[in-house]
């Protein structure tokens, strides 16, 4: 009965069930088997069934989670700490490996020459682009170390220290950029 309901045969069955007894068998057969029968095939549990299931799972949409989470100082600050750290590390690794591979092009005299010949505006912009992530990562790192020693581990503590970090980052970035 359940499988017939799943195939949408309930109305047909209901009609066949309440038909007069002489017609019942014919009506039952005609309505359930001939009109709306569906061929099914049983696949035993195993790699073949898993392959089909995984294909279906890949096509299935997932509910929005990361795209709808309200931006908050807590997690924006956290991912910013990671992004700034990764960015600065990529620069460090990049320069070190570049010097290892091609010491002629990346030695200090060449690098200083290239930077010296840039226009002033580009130099200031470049210094700010380097100083801001460095300042944020360093000062937010201090905030992380404070948490690791057990301080400011409340929502209020996180927000107060978060805004302090943002303020200190702004001051430090400007100060570092203006170093001549």
């Amino acid at each position: 009965m359940l499988s017939h309901k799943a195939l949408g045969l309930s109305t047909a069955l209901r009609q066949a069930a309440f038909a007069p007894r002489t017609l019942r068998n014919n009506a039952l057969l005609r309505n359930t088997i001939a009109r709306r029968s569906v061929q099914t095939k049983t696949i035993p549990a195993g790699p073949a069934a898993d392959a089909i299931l995984n294909q279906q799972r890949i096509k299935r949409p997932s509910s929005p989670h990361f795209t709808i989470y309200q931006p908050q100082l807590t997690w924006i600050g956290s991912i910013a700490n990671r992004v700034t750290g990764v960015g600065l590390s990529v620069l460090l690794y990049g320069f070190s490996i570049a010097y290892l591979v091609a010491p002629g092009t990346f030695d200090s005299t060449h690098v200083i020459e290239v930077v010296r010949d840039l226009p002033e505006a580009v130099k200031y912009a470049g210094k700010f682009i380097l100083a801001a992530p460095f300042s944020f990562h360093a000062i937010n790192g201090l905030r992380h170390l404070a948490w690791d020693t057990g301080h400011f581990l409340t929502v209020k503590g996180a927000y107060v220290t978060g805004y302090l970090v943002l303020g200190a980052t702004a001051v430090s970035s400007v100060a570092l950029t203006l170093i001549k």
Binding site: P44, A45, G46, D50, L53, N54, R57, R82, G85, V86, L88, S89, L92, Y93, F95, S96, I97, A98, Y99, L100, P103, D107, S108, V111, I112, V115, R116, K123, K127, A138, G141, L142, H144, L145, D148, I179, K180
Partner: protein, 167 residues
């Protein structure tokens, strides 16, 4: 009269027939592959595939608490190191320069490793996860050698940053 009735009755024949059928069914079930799966009331549980419980890595302090402590100690040590390197110059204190360079690379390696564990865990990425981990180790080794070469054959990391900043 009654015995002949009993002999002629179909009951023992039906019983024997039922017994024969039951034994055939029992044999068929014993030969089937359903016995490979663990039986639990409600149906067999097939093993393998994405519905298995998560396996946990073996507990190890080197990858657990010692790693945590080392990570924070290194990060804390970077603060006075950077400040000291900022006020002095690399040419006067080459050892400080070298220690700062090594500490920065170690700190970066630990950071990259945490990113791999978070985004490319070997449990979900059985090929890409370990491959990226080994690629990171190779890159860290190359970066260490590069920084050593730069500090030895050239002016050094802190001196370079100072000169580029004021160029």
């Amino acid at each position: 009269m009654s015995t002949s009735l009993l002999v002629r009755s179909s009951l023992p024949r039906a019983l024997a027939h039922r017994a024969a059928l039951r034994s055939v069914a029992v044999q068929a079930r014993a030969n089937s592959t359903v016995s490979e799966h663990k039986y639990v009331a409600g149906g067999p549980i097939p093993k393998g595939g994405p519905n298995d419980a998560v396996t946990f890595p073996p507990p190890s302090p080197t990858h657990g608490s010692y790693h945590w402590v080392f990570e924070r100690t290194l990060a804390a040590a970077l603060v006075p190191l950077t400040a000291a390197a900022f006020v002095t110059s690399g040419t006067n204190y080459p050892i400080l320069d070298g220690v700062l360079g090594l500490s920065l690379i170690a700190h970066s390696h630990i950071g990259f490793d945490q990113c791999i564990v978070d985004y490319l865990h070997p449990r979900k990425f059985p090929v890409l996860g370990p491959a990226t981990t080994w690629a990171l180790r190779g890159a860290t080794l190359a970066a260490t050698v590069g920084i050593f070469q730069f500090n030895t054959n050239d002016i050094g990391l802190t001196e370079l940053i100072a000169k580029v900043w004021t160029a």
